[in-house]
């Protein structure tokens, strides 16, 4: 670990990783409890389309993926609020649209797809010095999310009670989708497009097996996300594995341990 820490690229990856974990740990309980994991998948594919657009236009992919994914998140929420369509149907439509667009952009971006592997599975080298701005943005987002925890949890528990207490539940839905989109895109640098949805689901799922309260669930998710990211990045450095794959494998291992614990009497 100490050896790895000497490298600036690893320091950057670790810093970005921890900040992404913070967001993921905060969002994951909502993703799990509101059954939004498919939304995560849909948004990850929107991010893929955004990245492909960036490669096609030869710009920084992140700056294309960010607004694109954000817009798709709002569009999905909008379609769900305004129609009788279920959320997974709305997501399915935008999912397909995104993959189709991404495929067209990539096909037209010949010669510039060299780092596609990094975008798919994450890369330790992906976080460059120029990304530190995005990381600062991330920290800001995590801080903005904190005061929303209570109202969001309340509406997650029972939307009608929250509405009866005059909370702006619909506005909070949009905010949550927006947060999800932004965190997801920023996490793509570390975890990659294909695994970023899992990154937002597994810590919450594991924590759900261990916690009796939503506050406990959130703390566990934060802890598990940070632990697996720290160890995963180190593993990635040692074994030269894609960073996202290492992190998600560790998350899955922790999930397995927690699940095993529930199989024994006295477990939760």
């Amino acid at each position: 670990m100490l050896e790895a820490l000497a490298y600036p690229f690893f320091q950057r990856a670790l810093l970005a990783g921890f900040l992404v974990s913070l967001l993921s740990g905060l969002l994951s309980p909502f993703v799990v409890q509101r059954r939004l994991s498919f939304l995560g998948d849909g948004l990850a594919h929107a991010a893929f389309a955004g990245v492909a657009l960036g490669l096609f236009l030869r710009g920084e992919p992140l700056y294309f993926a960010l607004p694109f994914t954000f817009l798709v998140a709002l569009a999905i929420t909008f379609v769900r609020e305004r129609t009788e369509l279920s959320e997974d149907t709305a997501i399915g439509v935008f999912f397909a649209l995104s993959v189709a667009l991404g495929a067209v952009f990539l096909a037209k971006a010949r010669g510039y797809t060299g780092d596609a592997m990094g975008y798919l599975f994450g890369s330790l080298l992906a976080v460059g010095p120029q990304d530190l701005g995005a990381i600062a943005l991330l920290l800001l987002f995590a801080l903005l999310l904190l005061p929303l925890w209570g109202p969001l949890a309340y509406a997650t528990f029972d939307r009608e009670l929250a509405l009866a207490d005059r909370l702006p539940v619909v506005r909070h839905d949009y905010l949550l989708s927006g947060f999800l989109a932004v965190s997801l895109v920023l996490a793509v640098k570390v975890v990659g497009v294909l695994l970023v949805a899992a990154f937002l689901v597994i810590p919450g799922a594991t924590a759900r097996l261990l916690a009796r309260t939503f506050a406990g669930l959130t703390l566990w998710a934060l802890f598990l996300a940070s632990l697996s990211t720290g160890l995963g990045l180190w593993l990635s450095f040692l074994l030269d594995w894609p960073s996202g794959a290492s992190i998600v494998l560790l998350q899955a291992l922790l999930f397995g341990l927690a699940f095993t614990k529930t199989l024994f009497p006295g477990g939760n």
Partner: protein, 246 residues
């Protein structure tokens, strides 16, 4: 002073008219029993007062238009407990949402004491640290009632709060409500199918899409009102008035 003024309140769900031109004036401190057949719009009326369903007409609460009324004035026990049963929550935490209108991350010692006291008031102290998803219907009713009471509301809106509660618990329930009313001067609107409870109320609202009768029990529960509300069921009057227990 009026706790509640409702003027020509109408609710439509698409083509379906659930409530039509409901008007009533409820004085502060009243105990209003709301009766009527299934689908009469009783729950819809409470939801309209809470801003949960859009309506036409005018509602004032303690002189304020509904938008300006403080949400903490209302204590609500919904008929159907729609909460996510897989959400990890303790009964005490749900009660605490009554204090702060958001899910508690951590309870301050004061909040904890208040929430525990509210649970004790409804005879549910033993449930404080039990997971909500595993409580029975009657236990949930008590916890929801504690949640409604903990904020010391001026207006209690209770949608069939005795459903699922055992006979002893039901008697307890009316005792808690009376005690709270005596102490806080609050107004209670309670939907009920319990004829006896309706007779003990200060006012009865007989509802069937429209106001069929509103006034003291002996007047509102007259044979004519009930026949009108329950339609061809000629024996409704006997059930409410003559039969006592149903």
């Amino acid at each position: 002073m009026l706790a509640l003024e409702v003027q020509r309140l109408s609710v439509r769900f698409g083509e379906f008219q659930a409530l039509e031109e409901v008007s009533l004036e409820v004085p502060e401190g009243a105990f209003v029993a709301i009766v009527g057949p299934n689908g009469a719009g009783k729950s819809t009326l409470l939801k309209a007062l809470l801003g949960l369903v859009p309506f036409r007409g005018e509602v004032r609460v303690h002189g304020q238009p509904l938008e300006k009324a403080d949400p903490l004035w209302f204590g609500y026990v919904p008929q159907i407990k729609t909460f996510d049963r897989t959400f990890p929550a303790l009964a005490l935490e749900l009660v605490a949402t009554g204090l702060r209108r958001r899910w508690p991350f951590r309870l301050s010692p004061r909040e904890r004491a208040q929430a525990l006291e509210a649970l004790e008031r409804v005879g549910a102290s033993a449930l404080a640290h039990r997971p909500l998803g595993r409580l029975s219907g009657g236990q949930l009713q008590r916890v929801y009632l504690a949640r409604a009471l903990v904020r010391r509301p001026r207006l209690l809106l209770l949608d069939e709060p005795a459903t699922g509660v055992d006979r002893v618990g039901e008697v307890d329930l009316y005792r808690y409500l009376e005690a709270y009313q005596a102490e806080a001067g609050a107004t209670v609107l309670m939907i009920t199918h319990d004829w006896e409870a309706a007779h003990h109320a200060s006012h009865v609202l007989v509802l069937n899409r429209k106001v069929v009768g509103f006034g003291p029990p002996e007047k509102a529960l007259s044979e004519e009102c009930l026949r009108q509300a329950f339609g061809h069921l000629g024996h409704a009057h006997d059930l409410y008035v003559g039969g006592g227990h149903a």
